[in-house]
């Protein structure tokens, strides 16, 4: 039997994880909506009705998607399962390979430092760092610095000078 790739092996777990998140959110949303509606004595035209209807629909749709997910799983050839949590972990690694995770962390770091450090140094550092990490063609370092500086200046002129937006 041909060994399946990690992408194929973990497809069910990846879909299941996202479905679990959405389904859990739907349950939470429905519960809280009922509480709001209850506080308004279940009046039809109150602020609680619409969220209850929506979260109820979300529950129904989530349930239907879950059923279809498990039915598809039943039909498919079962792969080597190394355990539920192992499958979830492998699935996450497949969804978010190292370079995507690191790029995301760099972006989060940029957002975290933009206020204390300021727009110009934070943006310059972010652009240079991210470009250095992602640049497959390995352009010269001074070219990346120049590009980052140009983009930082362009954004400053557009947002601050032209549109009077206050950047950190």
């Amino acid at each position: 039997m041909e060994e399946k790739s990690r992408e194929e092996r973990t497809l069910f777990y990846r879909e299941l994880t996202l479905w679990l998140v959405l389904a859990a959110f739907s349950i939470w949303a429905f519960g809280n909506s009922i509480l709001i509606w209850k506080s308004k004595k279940f009046a039809v035209s109150s602020c609680g009705t619409f969220p209850v209807v929506l979260s109820g629909l979300m529950l129904i749709f989530s349930f239907a998607i879950g059923v279809s997910l498990f039915r598809r799983r039943k039909k498919e050839e079962k792969t080597e399962t190394k355990g539920f949590f192992r499958g979830i972990l492998e699935g996450f690694q497949e969804e978010m390979p190292g370079h995507v995770g690191i790029s995301l962390l760099i972006a989060v770091g940029y957002v975290a430092v933009i206020h204390p450090v300021g727009y110009v140094p934070a943006t310059l550092l972010f652009l240079v760092g991210e470009m250095l990490y992602l640049d497959q063609k390995k352009h010269k370092f001074w070219m990346l610095i120049l590009t980052a500086a140009g983009i930082t200046l362009a954004f400053y002129l557009i947002f601050v000078k032209l549109f009077r937006v206050r950047l950190p």
């Binding site: 035209s45 749709f61 790029s103 995301l104 972006a107 989060v108 954004f155 549109f163």
Partner: protein
């Protein structure tokens, strides 16, 4: 309408120059995610406060036309719609850019935007009163049905799973409920966080799910070194091509003008309805929809620019804004001591002239402005991913910060970017979610208004649908759309096609 006033106004060189600058600026504003025409309009009010009313309006009308078109640029080149109205454009424009035809796609959108804008303007000039009277007949439940139609539409357009699309639509509507309720003042799902009292800014969500999520997706495949070499030889569509798509453009422009004339709707729903119409009415497209079908570009672009003309119909007829931008224009008129409505048409025809004539000229100016620099713009797509994606990510951060100068908007953008990345990978259409957030207030407000009118009687509310021909038609369309997406109907359609 006093047509001589229009002629007088559009032959004034100063006003013409301001219109031109407005269109030019508006196009680039609309193209940058995080900046919008509405934002530009708010800034323009502070700039033009001390000006005379005609020059101020000339700039604002020009920016409106330019910004609505501009949203399609980033949609085609980067798969980041500059405005919700460009979501449908991204569905066809970006696949064309991946095939090396970004310049062709931009050329088509320019042409169709101009055509749609001119048709919308023509209807504004000739039929304001009639269209406005018809729009006034729309009751609260009709707006609910229209909003539901928009959601079912986008649910049927996005992805292979209708259920996932409906879930995303409902999720978007739910996210739109977060915040202080406008009527009861109750805090809904705010967790005691003051930022959430005003609700979550849909633009931050849009930048996240379309911009940041797309950047993460492209980074994921960066090792594949996919090159998108662009063919910039032929940019302008030839006359035969324009004529071939003219019937579709005309139908979509009429649709766009009418939907734009409904107060509070705007080009977003118009563009999606037009896209759906194109999908249903085109029997054998040369390229399948979703892979770069030209019809999928013609329809939304002609509709959303036609909707601009339509949006000014209720402004001129009743002083009611057709969309968010028009609300600011009404504010600008108020600052200059003017009240839009029938009295304005009688007492200040030159003001009406600059709006109507300005729209006409602005759409004509869009032609040379839109075609300028296409070859340069198209080359943006050829920039190596490793250089372009950090720039896109920085733009997403700064664009979302620029909304309110609040770092929490950036956090919202990051969160939805992260969520959108996973949703896209598993065929959960994020467009449905964004549209749900946008339409929530329209649907909920009118739904509660309708229930109030029927004294909380759901049965009376439901039977009320059958008391008005407009409601019956809208209801029938929504039901037909939902039935059309069921597995039973889809299989029936497939069997019919196989038999043919």
């Amino acid at each position: 309408m006093d047509y001589s006033a229009i002629f007088t106004v559009i032959t004034d060189p100063k006003l013409v120059a301001l219109l031109f600058l407005g269109v030019l600026g508006g196009m680039y504003i609309g193209a940058i995610p995080g900046l919008s025409g509405t934002m530009a309009a708010s800034l323009l009010i502070s700039f033009t406060y001390s000006w005379d009313v005609l020059p101020a309006l000339a700039v604002m009308v020009g920016v409106h036309v330019g910004a609505v078109y501009g949203g399609s640029r980033s949609a085609i080149l980067l798969n980041i719609p500059g405005a919700p109205a460009a979501i449908a454009t991204a569905m066809e424009g970006y696949p064309l850019a991946k095939k090396g035809q970004a310049a062709k796609a931009i050329g088509i959108t320019v042409m169709q935007s101009v055509l749609g804008g001119l048709i919308g303007c023509l209807i504004l000039l000739l039929a304001t009163e009639h269209v406005a009277k018809f729009a006034l007949q729309f009751a609260a439940r009709d707006y609910v049905l229209l909003g539901m139609m928009g959601l079912v539409l986008i649910a049927s357009l996005g992805g292979n799973s209708f259920l996932k699309s409906l879930l995303c639509g409902a999720l978007g509507l739910f996210i739109g409920c977060i915040g202080l309720d406008a009527v009861d003042g109750v805090k809904r799902f705010t967790f005691g966080i003051p930022y959430l009292y005003g609700g979550i800014n849909y633009v931050a969500i849009m930048i996240g799910v379309f911009g940041f999520a797309e950047a993460l997706s492209q980074i994921r495949d960066i090792h594949l070194n996919i090159e998108m070499k662009q063919d910039v030889g032929k940019v302008r569509p030839d006359f035969k091509e324009v004529l071939h798509y003219f019937p579709l453009a005309l139908r979509c422009s009429l649709l766009g003008t009418f939907v734009g004339a409904l107060p509070g709707t705007g080009g977003d729903i118009a563009a999606l309805m037009a896209y759906d119409h194109a999908k249903r009415s085109t029997k054998n497209p040369k390229v399948p929809f979703g892979e770069g079908a030209i019809e999928g570009l013609v329809a939304p672009e002609s509709a959303n620019n036609a909707a601009v003309g339509g949006a000014y119909i209720p402004v001129l007829a009743f002083g009611i804004p057709g969309d968010g931008y028009c609300a600011i224009v009404i504010g600008a008129l108020g600052i200059h001591g003017l009240n839009p409505g029938p009295a304005l048409m009688m007492n200040q025809p030159e003001v009406v002239g600059i709006i109507a004539g300005g729209l006409l000229l602005a759409n004509i100016f869009l032609l040379p402005i839109g075609f300028s620099g296409i070859r340069v713009f198209a080359k943006i797509v050829e920039i190596p991913r490793g250089i372009l994606m950090p720039i896109v990510m920085a733009l997403c951060v700064i664009g979302s910060y620029a909304l309110n100068g609040n770092i929490i908007d950036v956090c919202v953008m990051l969160f939805f970017g992260f969520l959108g990345y996973f949703m896209k990978r598993h065929d959960y259409p994020v467009g449905s979610m964004v549209l749900g957030v946008i339409l929530c207030s329209l649907i909920e407000r009118n739904m509660r208004r309708d229930w109030n009118l029927t004294h909380d009687s759901l049965w009376a509310s439901f039977t009320g649908i059958f008391s008005s021909p407009i409601s019956i038609v809208l209801f029938a369309v929504v039901v037909a759309m939902v039935i059309g997406q069921t597995p039973f109907w889809r299989n029936r359609k497939k069997r019919k096609e196989k038999a043919k």
